[in-house]
Symmetry: C2
Subunit: 198 residues, 2 copies
Amino acid sequence: MDSKEKILIEAKLLFAQKGFAGVSMRNLAAAVDMSVAAIYHHFPDKNSLYLEMMRYAFTDKSQQLTRLWYSGESAEDKLRNFVKLMIEMLEQDPVFDRLIQREIIEADPKRMQILATDIFNNQFCYLLELIAEISPKTDTHLTAVSVLGLIKYHQEIKPLRHFWQGWKPEHEHADVIADHVLNLLLNGIQNGNNSEKK
Amino acid sequence: MDSKEKILIEAKLLFAQKGFAGVSMRNLAAAVDMSVAAIYHHFPDKNSLYLEMMRYAFTDKSQQLTRLWYSGESAEDKLRNFVKLMIEMLEQDPVFDRLIQREIIEADPKRMQILATDIFNNQFCYLLELIAEISPKTDTHLTAVSVLGLIKYHQEIKPLRHFWQGWKPEHEHADVIADHVLNLLLNGIQNGNNSEKK
DNA sequence: GTCTATATGGCGATAGAC
DNA sequence: GTCTATCGCCATATAGAC
């Protein structure tokens, strides 16, 4: 395999786990079984390596989703499939998931706009249309963010949740989480008993 | 002011901004205008300082919440107040919010267990009981995580959301978000039209 | 392209004076 | 309780041989 790509793959893993400040060039060199100097042959400095890794990690994540929006299914089935696909994607590539989280918390203004507009906004618009169809009365922007939040948070909290009461092994399975999230979205937590309301 | 408390206050700010690995004892010493050795007089090492800062940052928060659990209100009103209080707390103290985010993402195994059990678990248990009362049929653990996710994600995504379609200035207000989250939790997104279901 | 060796400086933590 | 001075180590980055 190409040495440069090997470095990028390992860098993605390490930076996602430990953050920019938490990963040393020595750590990375050890992980790819090379010397530090060999890495500096491929990248001018640590910062450039990080940026190039980000570009590498973000390529072609949206193809699977786009196929979904153009399927001929009903709006509710599309939402069902969207939630399931997103949860599966995050579970399948947790490294990618953590990288997004890192970027949001670091909140570098330049990178932030690229991330928001170039990568996420397109998919967000499809989701908005879908929600407008299913639930025209609600604020579609807020609801779309809630849908993403439910999907994202269950993944995000995985390191903590098994310490908490009521945890079961099945709570780690993508389809169990997907079913729960979809049920909550479509019915709330009262399971059909949503009478009393102002 | 007490030197130790001054250190804790500044440490909270710095660790929230830059993370554990991103803050050196020298940075902190400069921020409180003391020597590094003076800090080591109050704390045995960097890790202990961090843990004590976390406990310090959480004490007043859990007091507010605990008062809420022992109020004589109905379960649904308690949930309503919990969501509102949490959103207000996160908005009012964004440093605290970032601290949680940092902690979850850094997921240091040693710190994780202490924080998850010592600090979060108590409040989580109250939330579990509440949900068990409101919605006995659902999986309470998953539902509690969803409640936290809805609250947390709307705050977490703030740096990104205004780039996305459908955003309005009012989406930044705590009470608008709280109303939206509560409506979603109690009714789902279909607004009472939750008939068709497997 | 990859290595060994090294320059230069910041890191966590400690010793001991005041 | 706070300081100055220092230890030993690890950080980023470079030089030059192969």
